[in-house]
């Protein structure tokens, strides 16, 4: 079990993730060509201008209107992206498998970041339950999505703390981690792929075509 997860599963997960992302991007470019206006309207200048205003915390009005959400979502996403990449445990595995490794997070910090992701996830769940405008557009799939994202963090964290059944937890962790990776291109988690494009397109339409700001 461990061997499979440690070996082929990682490969499968990475391949599905990478291949899936590639597929979705190629599909998007094709569809964009069909949607005649999209590519001609795209502008680097205004696209990047908009992107900048939406990846810097509080640079847009809506972020200022929702300060708690803004802080949580930035912390959540930054930790979500950085933790697995710079985690010592992951680094060691990479080192073993492919002989590459890079700077690792101090384990204390990694723990804190992991907890931050989990806290963020719980905040998102709470938001979905409490805010009527969010609850109204929420169905089971939204919770499932958060669960899929949180699962590797929860299992990884438990494993790293060695609270119980370490080996089982690590196996579970690898499976959930793989699942999450594979889910990215094929679920709404694909927002990771499309964010840059939808944002830049809107920025271009607002800026280059309509001479206005979109933040």
């Amino acid at each position: 079990m461990y061997e499979f997860a440690r070996g082929p599963l990682v490969w499968i997960a990475l391949l599905v993730f990478a291949g899936g992302c590639l597929y979705r991007l190629v599909w998007m470019v094709r569809a964009a060509k069909q949607d005649k206006v999209v590519i001609p309207y795209m502008s680097w200048k205004y696209g990047l201008r908009s992107l900048l205003h939406w990846i810097v915390p509080f640079a847009s009005r809506n972020m200022r209107l929702h300060p708690v959400m803004t802080v949580v979502t930035f912390v959540f996403h930054i930790c979500l992206l950085l933790t697995p990449i710079f985690l010592l445990a992951h680094n060691v595995l990479w080192q073993q498998s492919w002989g590459v490794s890079w700077w690792s997070l101090p384990s204390r910090l990694a723990d804190v970041m992991t907890v931050a992701v989990m806290a963020g996830g719980i905040f998102f769940i709470g938001r979905r339950l409490r805010l009527p405008e969010v609850r109204n557009v929420t169905d089971y799939s939204d919770y499932l999505l958060i669960a899929v994202v949180l699962a590797p963090f929860v299992t990884g964290f438990i494993a790293s703390q060695q609270w119980f059944a370490y080996r089982t937890m690590v196996i579970l962790h690898m499976w959930t981690g793989a699942l999450m990776l594979m889910a990215i291109p094929f679920t709404r988690l694909s927002h990771m792929l499309y964010f840059i494009f939808t944002r830049m397109y809107m920025g271009s339409e607002f800026g280059a075509v309509r001479n206005a700001k979109d933040w």
């Binding site: 005649k36 206006v37 590519i39 001609p40």
Partner: protein, 439 residues
Amino acid sequence: MDDLMETLGAIKTTVAVNSASVGDTWDWETAEKRIADLLEIRGRFAEVHEVTVSADGEKIAAPVKTDDGNFTACVNGEVWPEMFELLWYLKFSPDGKLTALTKSDDQWTIAVDGECWEEKFEYIWNTQFSADGKVIAAQAKREMDYLIVVNGAVWSNIFVSTRGLAVSNDGRKVAAVVQAVPLKEADIFGFLEGTWTLAVNDKKWDRNFINVYRPTISPDGRHVAAEVRLDICEYTVATDGEPWQQRFGCVWEPLFRGNQSLLAPVRVDGNWTLAENGRLIWKGAYNQLWYQRFSPDGSRIAAVVSPAFGKWTIAVDDKLWKKTYNDAVLEPFFSPDGRRVAAIVKDQNRWTIAVDGIPWTETFDMVWNPVFSPDGNDVIAKVNKNGRFTIALNGRAWRRDFEAVWEPVFSPDGTKVLVKAVEDGKYYRRVVPIQELMG
């Protein structure tokens, strides 16, 4: 001077003169005629409105308002004897008659060379001519009925509304887009039943359509066609009341090639292509296609197309010109021998002309339609740059420029050009050797 410029600004010839076939009987000998002193005319009247020049350049006319507040037409400095409450829309017929829409005692009619039609109307508008100028038609209204008037005689059919009028070259056919069935206010269901049709020589087509647009008449005057709308988003072309079997997402105005073949741009699955009598004849699927035009012998077809979003060019027999333009490309013109094609093109808000795909290097604030010489070797056009007007020949503006210029015409032998221009407030008709324009 500003006032004068305003008067001169309106520049109008009644027919587009784009081939060398016109003008056989005109004076091509007299090098220069001073036809009228516009400054002097301006001094004589309280107001002088936009001037109009006849195709042969022999006459210049403008609506004038006298000191006592009445209107009349002033032609080469002479006024029409009759005075009107209002007079506008001065148009020279192709054979040089001057027409105007006139109002007296709250009644409108058309005056031709100063003579009013007997019939009077609540309103009359849109004067149209046959190619020889013998037939003059217009739309009119009387007590809420909409009418068509041809040479002063009113059609017996009256309509709920009319929109658009076409007169055949020989003047024997007059066609009008007419509303045949009244529609209650906001009756969205009655609308879909079809309330519009075409009336040709006072006779309606048998069938009504949701909409009918832009009628066109075959060169021999026997067939009349128009765009018709059959459903919310279903269009086709109808000839003499019979729609094509094929239906399309949209169509643009059809045009006869010869007397039997009718071509129209049609939209299929979001792209435009060209159909002849309902069948698709071009393979190209364009983002846009319109202004299909034919060489004089009908063997070649040119049209304005967009091969990619925001890019415009001309396709000749379904083959694209290499260069595209970002702003616009206007209707293509064939040379008399059908060899060459020229069109107005616009890029970065500068206008010029492209001939066989190659744009002139000089650009202008505005250009008018290109005119080919009879042998097709030269192209001339009226151009506007820095507030002055002149003629450009094969891409180079003439060194002389004017306060106003009308569209130039080649002499039948192609050695001379008729230049109608205003200089120092005076209107001149000049016959200029082509070499002179090159200098």
